[in-house]
């Protein structure tokens, strides 16, 4: 992308939008996060008979039905439209500002849920199904195509597929485009609707807890799936202030690294995680001590939590930062997770309140941190870091500052 030489600018978050298992809207999301009651519940969307884990955090049916998008679109497209639409409206972008904005979408599942309906029907009935139209939106890029058309966003458009780090990558690379003067505004986020293939896959890997996930707990047995969408509007700080826009936080730094170690397992020393966190801090020109809170990747799997805790200790020092996992509340929203948790981090900075690790009861001694167990806590911090680590060892860390 052609940048304008010599222009590296502060990037701020000026709009937020979320569709989460707590319902549609940022308000519902924040209320749910701080109430501390997990949204993880039995799955009723698909048949779960015979699986080890039969729970997930799904967007409530009544919330999905009320989303401001045609019911003919895929579940994922509808969530993306609602969340991105909320973010754009929240930022107060004019049609002209939207038209030239960049659009970066972290995605994996696309319209797979509806495509699965088609495939199941054709396979089981042995004849062509009229649901074949679902294939038009099966790919991850479907969300960006729909958002561009419906919201009138026609700047640089990218669909980034980095597994569970996809949404965070969209924010990181969107901020680059703004910081380097390629665009004035970027709409960036992530989306993933629940799919059978994801549910079956993590069950097959035995990475799902039959009970709601318990990140950092000694008795944790795996993760819980979630779904949702979250988008932010990123723009240059001075420009935002000049137009009277609302500044939620600065996206002060970001880094993306790769383990190059294993298709699914993180590097045992957390090498890539450490480089991501250190890189993001360096990009933000802040020492570790400036960060008061980490919204952890915190999946609830034995391996991830132990290695992430080890990496956090290497970067911040044992016990030197408050840590919590939003996945205890909304599950692992997959490609959306990095964006969902970035919004949680921004809201934590703004409200001076840290969302809890809601299901944590008995802290794992291998996790030498205060993980904000059980209930939200009023703590004002100046800077916070959000971690996202994906399959394939793809790591993204984002640093936000007040």
């Amino acid at each position: 992308m052609s940048a304008v030489p010599g222009r590296r600018r502060a990037v701020v978050v000026s709009g937020l939008g979320v569709v989460s298992p707590f319902g549609a809207g940022v308000k519902a999301f924040w209320t749910g996060l701080t109430a501390g009651a997990t949204a993880i519940a039995p799955v009723t969307l698909v048949d779960t008979e015979g699986f080890r884990s039969r729970i997930a955090a799904l967007v409530p049916a009544e919330a999905v039905a009320a989303l401001p998008a045609s019911r003919r679109r895929s579940r994922g497209d509808r969530m993306a439209l609602a969340a991105a639409g909320e973010a754009v409206a929240d930022a107060g972008l004019t049609p002209g500002e939207r038209r030239a904005a960049a659009l970066l979408v972290g995605a994996v599942g696309g319209g797979m849920l509806e495509a699965e309906d088609w495939y199941w029907e054709e396979t089981r009935q042995g004849r062509p199904s009229p649901r074949v139209g679902a294939l038009r939106s099966i790919l991850p890029r479907s969300h960006a195509d729909v958002l561009a058309r419906r919201l009138g966003v026609h700047g640089p458009r990218e669909t980034l597929v980095m597994a569970c780090a996809s949404g965070a990558a969209a924010l990181a690379l969107g901020a680059d485009l703004v910081r380097e003067g390629v665009v004035e505004v970027a709409v960036a986020g992530g989306v993933d609707a629940f799919t059978r293939i994801c549910f079956m896959g993590f069950n097959a890997l035995k990475l799902l807890d039959p009970a709601p996930c318990r990140p950092f707990d000694r008795g944790r047995r795996g993760m819980s799936l979630g779904e949702g969408a979250a988008f932010v509007v990123l723009e240059e700080a001075a420009r935002c202030r000049a137009r009277g826009g609302r500044v939620y936080a600065e996206l002060a730094g970001a880094a993306l690294t790769t383990d190059a170690h294993h298709p699914t397992a993180p590097h045992p020393d957390g090498d890539g995680m450490v480089r991501a966190m250190e890189g993001a801090l360096a990009a933000a020109a802040r020492p570790p001590a400036a960060v008061g809170y980490v919204n952890a990747h915190g999946t609830g799997t034995l391996q991830n939590d132990r290695i992430e805790a080890r990496a956090l200790a290497r970067v911040f020092g044992e016990g030197r930062v408050l840590v919590s996992s939003s996945k205890s509340l909304v599950g692992h929203t997959m490609a959306a997770a990095g964006a969902v948790e970035a919004v949680a981090t921004v809201l934590a900075l703004e409200h001076g309140m840290l969302p809890p690790t809601a299901t944590l009861v008995d802290l794992d001694p291998d996790v030498p941190f205060d993980c904000v167990a059980g209930a939200a806590r009023t703590v004002s911090v100046e800077a916070a870091l959000s971690n996202s680590f994906g399959f394939g060892g793809q790591n993204v860390s984002l640093v936000f500052a007040r």
Binding site: M1, S2, A3, V4, P5, G6, G50, F51, A100, A107, V108, E116, Y119, T123, V132, L135, R136, L139, P140, R141, D145, A148, R149, G152, H154, G155, P156, R157, E158, T159, L160, V161, M162, A163, A169, L173, D176, L177, E180, V183, R196, I197, M200, G201, N203, A204, L205, A255, L256, T257, T258, D259, A260, H262, P263, R275, F391, G392, G393, Q394
Partner: protein, 377 residues
């Protein structure tokens, strides 16, 4: 971080005409042959879309060891083999300064179908935990990063038609932003029967709208895209780092941009302008005026042809006529996610031979538009 040009120092390709580095690509281009022919991957039966540019299994196997060939899905094997070739061609260092960007239009549907078929046949007990990770589209990038030990950023971009050139443009941006000193960037896709059948069913392949399948891009009939498969990657480097190691620089990527056309060719309506987009800004400036050759996205899809030429005329003015029609490589290699990177490789060879600057233009069915300009080193 550099705001300026990025060096292109290596090419790796596994395509319907062969496999190898810069020399192999140059030979394939010079041969004038087409890799397209009757489908071999499966019996098309009564399917009207019966042509494809397919990769010989031997071309893939040559680039991999036995373990890689056994462990990886076919599309991952394609990506890994081409990345390996590109890294070897460039002689670039592996490790924490090397990144990977993979563009793909379809990803690993073979693994997805295989995975769910196990469930549909035998229930939860039929699911393979080893196959599941490959159902996520970043599986090719993950496999390539492990193989070439790329520990800087790894990104997968999903886009219609222009996945390969978008990946290269994204790779340029990552170097400029300081996320990596060097990036292996390109694209990959494979022929897979269910995908081929459904694309044909949706009217996205030759013969489009029921026309006969013998049409080629730019031919009067323009019957639609003939699918291809393969992987092509280029190595991009910070020019300072490349010079410091005396790298064999083929070309400099002086400009790279992407944007969205407000309406897609198949979404109806008139050809729109996108004057405010980074691509149009780039092409309407001095860089566009100096271009002596243009590779385009034409792949047999008539609407795509018309829109691409209209956009180039709008942005390049009178200078467009000497570049039109753009050079298309789709007839030789088939439409696939690696084709855009292959065009970038071809443009780099042109630049190395003194034909420069060269524009590699892309336009997708989705409305995504890309442009890269390559100049002599």
């Amino acid at each position: 971080m550099t705001d300026g040009a990025v060096a292109l120092t290596g090419i790796g390709t596994v395509n319907a005409l062969g496999a190898g580095g810069r020399t192999a690509l140059a030979s394939a281009l010079a041969s004038g042959r087409s890799g397209a022919g009757p489908l071999r991957a499966f019996d098309p039966g009564d399917l009207a879309s019966r042509l494809a540019a397919e990769v010989d299994e031997a071309s893939i196997a040559d680039g991999l060891d036995a373990d890689g060939a056994r462990r990886l899905s076919r599309i991952c094997r394609l990506a890994v083999a081409a990345c390996r070739l590109a890294v070897a061609d460039a002689g670039v260092a592996r490790g924490p300064d090397l990144g990977v960007v993979v563009g793909s239009e379809h990803g690993d549907f073979r693994s997805s179908v295989g995975f769910v078929s196990g469930y549909l046949a035998r229930g939860p007990g039929g699911l393979s935990p080893l196959t599941f990770p490959s159902t996520v589209m970043n599986t090719m990038a993950a496999a390539a990063a492990i193989d070439v030990d790329a520990r800087a950023v790894t990104v997968t971009v999903n886009e219609a038609t222009v996945a390969g050139e978008l990946a290269v443009a994204r790779g340029v941006a990552l170097i400029r932003s300081g996320h990596a000193r060097a990036v292996v960037a390109g694209g990959v896709d494979e022929i897979f029967e269910p995908v081929h059948r459904q694309l044909a069913r949706l009217g996205a392949l030759a013969p489009m709208r029921g026309r006969r399948p013998e049409g080629a891009p730019r031919a009067p009939g323009r019957d639609g895209p003939v699918p291809g498969e393969g992987a092509t990657f280029v190595v991009l480097e910070d020019p300072v780092a490349a010079r410091a190691r005396d790298a064999p620089v083929l070309a400099l990527v002086t400009l790279a941009a992407w944007g969205g056309v407000p309406a897609a060719p198949h979404a109806g309506g008139r050809t729109p302008g996108d004057a405010a987009s980074p691509v149009a800004r780039l092409l309407r400036g001095p860089a566009g005026a100096g271009v002596v050759k243009c590779y385009g996205a034409a792949n047999g899809d008539p609407l795509l042809h018309d829109w691409e030429e209209a956009l180039l005329r709008a942005d390049l003015g009178a200078g467009a006529e000497r570049l039109l029609p753009p050079v298309t490589l789709a007839a030789a290699f088939g439409q696939h996610g690696g084709l855009g990177a292959l065009r970038v490789g071809a443009a780099a060879l042109d630049a190395a031979g003194g034909v420069a600057p060269v524009l590699v233009h892309g336009l997708a069915r989705s409305g995504c538009r890309t442009a890269l300009v390559l100049d002599r080193p």
